[in-house]
Amino acid sequence: MAKVKEGWGSRIGLILAMAGNAVGLGNFLRFPVQAVQNGGGTFIIPYFVSFLLMGIPLLWVEWSMGRYGGVRGNHSTPFIFDSIGKKRLWKYVGVFGIFTNLGIISYYTYIESWTLSYTFKSLFQEFAGMTPEQVSATFDTYAGIHGGNIGHHVDPNFPLLAIAAFFVTLALNVYVLSKGLEGGTEKVAKIAMPLLILFGIFLAVKGVFLGDTGIGCDTCNSWAGLDFLWKPDYDSLGNPKIWLAAAGQIFFTLSVGMGTIHCYSAFVKKNDDIALNAMTAGWMNEFVEIVLGASVVIPIAVGYMGIDWVKENAGFMMAFKTMPYLFDQWGPLLATFAGVAWFGLLFIAGITSSLAMGTPFMNFVEDEFNWGRVKSAVVLGIVIMIMALPTILFFEYGVFDEYDYWTGTVSLVIFATAEIILFAWIFGVDKGWKEINRGADIKVPLFYKFVIKWITPLFILTIFISALIKPLNGEVSDWQTAIHQLFTQGSWPWAHDSIIGQIIHVDEKVIWFIDGVPTLMFFKDMSRVLLVLTFVGLSYLVHIASKKRKSLSKKSKA
């Protein structure tokens, strides 16, 4: 525990940094794709229910846990949890708050570096006159994707330019983090977030008012894209898959269950507002996602490629493999500006999130080992580099996807389940309610006290259990079949993508080598080993820090 002399320079700076933490690539790329794949306009109903009953309560819980820990000199999740839980176990649960961020930042910084490179590629009009196939191939060349050789011999992806851009992006993150919260992260957020919103408004206006592009296909009209995105299909509301997808999106978009919010709010003073701050940052994120994010990729892509093409190709890679071609249809000047706005916007969304992801590790080593900011930031950079290289070099071998699944999905749900139980049941909802309302500039509806105690934990537990034991395709009929099978045959038909299904490799052959050549399974399992070792290593550091604290406490008593 250390007296950290960090702090936020201004309230608006803190809110913009928190909003920057939440606003990420997913606002523009994941949300619209999830919406079109899950009932179109109907998706917004479970999405909002999840936001109101899980997202908002978790925001208040995380902000208040962070402030509570920070006031007691604890700025990292293991010791924030420790100060709230008072039992030895909780600080090890808090390790998820550092682990998740180290895992995500390792591949996220790489994607962030793509957006940086593509901003410059757009500025220098590299995509001018290219066909859709050429734009797509440009990305494959850039990321060193060669396909074909998998299974015959190991042929790592070695994209020199992409690796150089990754190092530049990493160095930029390390530099900003080394400047501290007020001098680094807050300054970046104050400039970057308004710029992101301006870029977003420009692209959203273009997306909405693009109309009929005259390409020739029946549905090549941005309004058809918006119709595709917003047309409600109320029959799908009863499908649990859609509810799970919506709840999952709320997790991703608000950056809850990660530990970053705790680590930012640990620098809020004990009587400062958190209730209004949390709402402002949370709703700002929703504005960027629902108003701006929904109005860019899908309408513009449908405008030029038609609905059928978008149905088949909607996904994350559209940002790099398709958007430059679409912008190019607007003429050289506007295409350049749109490309810079689009990739610049994604870069800003990325860096404001990665800076937040670096903070839990920084806070931990600064608090527990008295490291300076520069040393902490440089060591963080080295750790990210070590963890990121496998995702870059073995991008096509599934390493990237493993990191994303375990740290970007599973960890979030485990952490959120633990924190809501800790806050509402161990710490106690009465004390928790007082914490949320301490210094509040808004009156938090009393209804939320009930929600935090009952609804949010049940909501998250349902998500966690569903993800853990999901049967077959997760449809209602699959659950019925699974329960029947459990009672008649004593077995459970694990879905391949359930957590247990992933752990026991359902529908996969566990063969590490064929003719001496490592298989995809080898890379998959080695990625998991690396992640487990990271978690164990962090837990060991927490153990050392805990012993150090005890010894200091004994000395001071003596």
């Binding site: 525990m1 007296k3 950290v4 002399k5 960090e6 702090g7 936020w8 320079g9 201004s10 309230r11 608006i12 809110i15 179109g40 306009g41 917004i44 909002f48 509570y68 920070g70 006031v71 007691r72 000199g73 007020e182 309004w223 058809a224 918006l226 119709d227 995105l229 917003w230 047309k231 409600p232 640990a266 620098f267 809020v268 003073k269 004990k270 400062d272 507002d273 209004l276 701050n277 709402m279 402002t280 709703w283 700002m284 929703e286 504005f287 629902i290 108003v291 929904a294 004390k431 007082k434 914490e435 500039d441 808004i442």
Partner: protein, 46 residues
């Protein structure tokens, strides 16, 4: 664009925009609290 889709889009995007601006203005009206850091103390939280 069909009427149900247009209605839903305007309703949802309009509501989110209004609420976002409402909270932002509420924050901007409150005075800044520029003092730094968190003093470690033992205030009773109960």
């Amino acid at each position: 664009m069909s009427t149900p889709a247009l209605t839903l889009m305007i309703l949802v995007q309009g509501t989110v925009t209004v609420i976002s601006i409402y909270f932002l203005l509420k924050v901007l009206k409150k005075p800044e609290k520029p003092e730094k850091g968190n003093e470690i103390d033992d205030f009773d939280n109960n």
